[in-house]
């Protein structure tokens, strides 16, 4: 059961091979057995899951079940879930029971999907390795001494280890695509505004986007169809129809124009990763696609711009955590300012404080124009680079990360850690969609091929990724951890 995709599980449910309750019980047992070692879940919602599975089975028996009814998944612990602990990986919210559901959670519930629990993550989604969680680091099932990537590392590790067939993540600077690459699964960051952010604990509001993580592009298409669409509760969500993402998965790629950004194949890229990515591109050439080099000249400035904009937005968003209405409150405050300052100092971890301090500094009097305004101007130049490139090509391809997963504890310097996201961050600044698909193994650790498209080109990206997965078997490889514990 643990090795099946959502699509395979749906077929088995429809055929009556097993019930949703049997799937749920099987995966809950696997989580009990294996997650002590991985630490990919913060909360396992056993009773909720079994009750929802029984309801899905009843609906199916009565002929009322939709195509996703009874299928399991996990939710990054950044999505508010009514009556269930929602921590964002932080001590600040260790006692927070969300009073409402995020819109994506409501949509998944309405489709009949079953959440088995809330997955571990870097605190408030700040990190590239999942070592910044109050609940401890997640381990990569491909190599337990390696990080799973961040910040949706818990979701990625849970899928890779076969604890769930799919999960939701969020991506502010690469936090779906990089952990998907490190864990050998498929992860899609949709266009900004394609999926509602309502009830998703905000890190950087103009960059955050929820998206699916699964074993295949086909499953990501199913999940995106369930969560995409306009939401009256989120004025940044886009009022635009949602296509049937699974309907276009069979389109031919003959004549597809692929651009390889020369800036994504320069210094800092591990040669073995480059070789794997170039091999993957050859697969598309065999489909009849045309490949050419393109340039994204402002790529070099994406990380500096991001580390002004994201912390600035974070310093504002995280001001709501003040110990008054919810979350952690310090003991015996002497006055209101003491309550604020000590509650926040005790509740937030090091990386969160670092970004709040940077954001507050760059927004403060005398620094705003030099940092924030400048970064937003460069953001426009970065976005224009992509728009120009998509005048000439249909999609861009490159690595999702410069290296495979690194060892736990290996990257202690914050600036070096930030540079891990060099190929993913610009995409968030521009708001375009991107997907990472498994495309090789280097030293036993997965490599991700990143495919980028213009705004709202999710159907095309999913089709391109799906065609690749029809011709290769990288997405079918499983870590020894999952195989040995079958």
């Amino acid at each position: 059961m643990h090795d099946k995709t959502l699509t395979q599980l749906a077929a088995g449910l429809a055929a009556g091979d097993y019930s949703s309750r049997e799937i749920t019980q099987s995966l809950l047992s696997r989580i009990d057995r294996l997650d002590g070692e991985l630490n990919s879940f913060i909360s396992v919602t056993r009773e909720h899951a079994l009750a929802a599975a029984s309801a899905a089975d009843d609906a199916r028996a009565k002929g009322n079940a939709g195509p996703l009814a009874g299928l399991p998944l996990a939710l990054k612990d950044i999505f508010c879930t009514q009556g269930i602990k929602t921590t964002a990986g932080s001590r600040m919210l260790d006692n927070f029971i969300a009073p409402y559901n995020a819109t994506v959670v409501d949509k998944l519930n309405a489709s009949g999907m079953i959440s088995l629990g809330k997955t571990n993550m870097d605190e408030f989604a700040m990190g590239s390795s999942n070592e910044n969680s109050y609940y401890g680091p997640v381990k990569n099932p491909w190599d337990l001494s390696a990080v799973p990537g961040g910040s949706s590392g818990g979701s990625a590790a849970a899928v890779a280890a076969g604890l769930v067939p799919a999960a939701l993540g969020t991506d502010t600077g690469g936090s779906i695509r990089q952990p998907a690459a490190f864990c050998g699964i498929t992860g899609l960051k949709p266009t900004y505004g394609r999926v509602s952010r309502y009830g998703m604990i905000a890190y950087a509001s103009s960059l955050d986007q929820a998206g699916p993580m699964a074993r295949t592009a086909e499953d990501c298409a199913l999940l995106l169809g369930a969560i995409a669409g306009h939401d009256v509760h989120d004025s940044t969500s886009v009022a635009r129809g949602v296509p049937d993402y699974t309907a276009e998965l069979g389109e031919s790629l003959s004549g597809l124009k692929i651009g390889l950004p020369k800036e994504y194949f320069g210094d800092g890229l591990a040669p073995e990763v480059e070789a794997a990515v170039r091999e993957a591109v050859k697969v598309f050439e065999s489909f009849g696609a045309c490949v050419r080099e393109v340039s994204l000249p402002h790529t070099h400035y994406a990380i500096p711009a991001y580390y002004v904009i994201a912390p600035a937005e974070a310093s504002s968003n995280l001001s709501r955590f003040d110990g008054v209405r919810f979350g952690h409150r310090c003991d015996n405050p002497t006055d209101l300012i003491d309550l604020y300052k000590r509650s926040r100092a005790e509740g937030f971890g090091d990386e969160v404080k670092r970004r709040i301090l940077i954001g507050t500094h760059t927004l403060s009097e005398g620094f705003f124009d030099a940092y924030y305004k400048k970064a937003q101007q460069i953001r426009r130049l970065i976005r224009q680079d992509f728009l120009d490139a998509f005048e000439d090509v249909d999609v861009l391809m490159g690595p999702a990360s410069p290296t495979p997963a690194f060892d736990l504890g290996a990257n202690k310097d914050p600036v070096s850690m930030y540079l891990q996201d060099i190929y993913t961050i610009a995409i968030n600044l521009a708001g375009i969609p991107g997907i990472s698909v498994p495309a090789g193994l280097v030293g036993g650790r997965p490599v991700g091929l990143q495919i980028l498209g213009p705004h709202f080109a999710e159907s095309q990206l999913l089709n391109v990724a799906h065609q690749f997965q029809q011709a290769t078997d990288w997405h079918q490889r499983r870590p020894a951890f999952a195989e040995e514990n079958a």
Partner: protein, 95 residues
């Protein structure tokens, strides 16, 4: 731009974060290197480039001025650290 411990303490105060001198000293180095990296932005000529705050370059939509939410104060206050008679309790502000 070089960063000093007083800059860190100033930012911490503005952000309402308690930070003792030892912590502030620890952050000076990290934040200094981050700002050094960020300073690469100054090399780009952005004369005449409009800042981009929203990736789709969208403007905020207005909605009808109608009540759409019901009062859920009691529900939301269930998660508060301290409440009394529908109010959030904090240390006394005015003596």
């Amino acid at each position: 731009m070089a960063l000093e411990q007083t800059d860190v303490q100033r930012a911490a105060h503005l952000a309402r974060l308690a930070l003792d001198d030892a912590d502030a000293a620890r952050y000076v180095d990290d934040l200094g290197r981050i700002l050094e990296m960020v300073d690469q932005l100054q090399a780009v000529d952005t004369q005449g480039v409009a800042p981009l705050a929203h990736p789709l370059d969208a403007t905020q939509r207005l909605r009808a001025d109608e009540v759409t939410e019901s009062d859920q104060r009691d529900h939301f206050q269930q998660g508060a650290p301290a409440v009394e008679n529908g109010l959030y309790l904090v240390p006394r502000v005015v003596e």
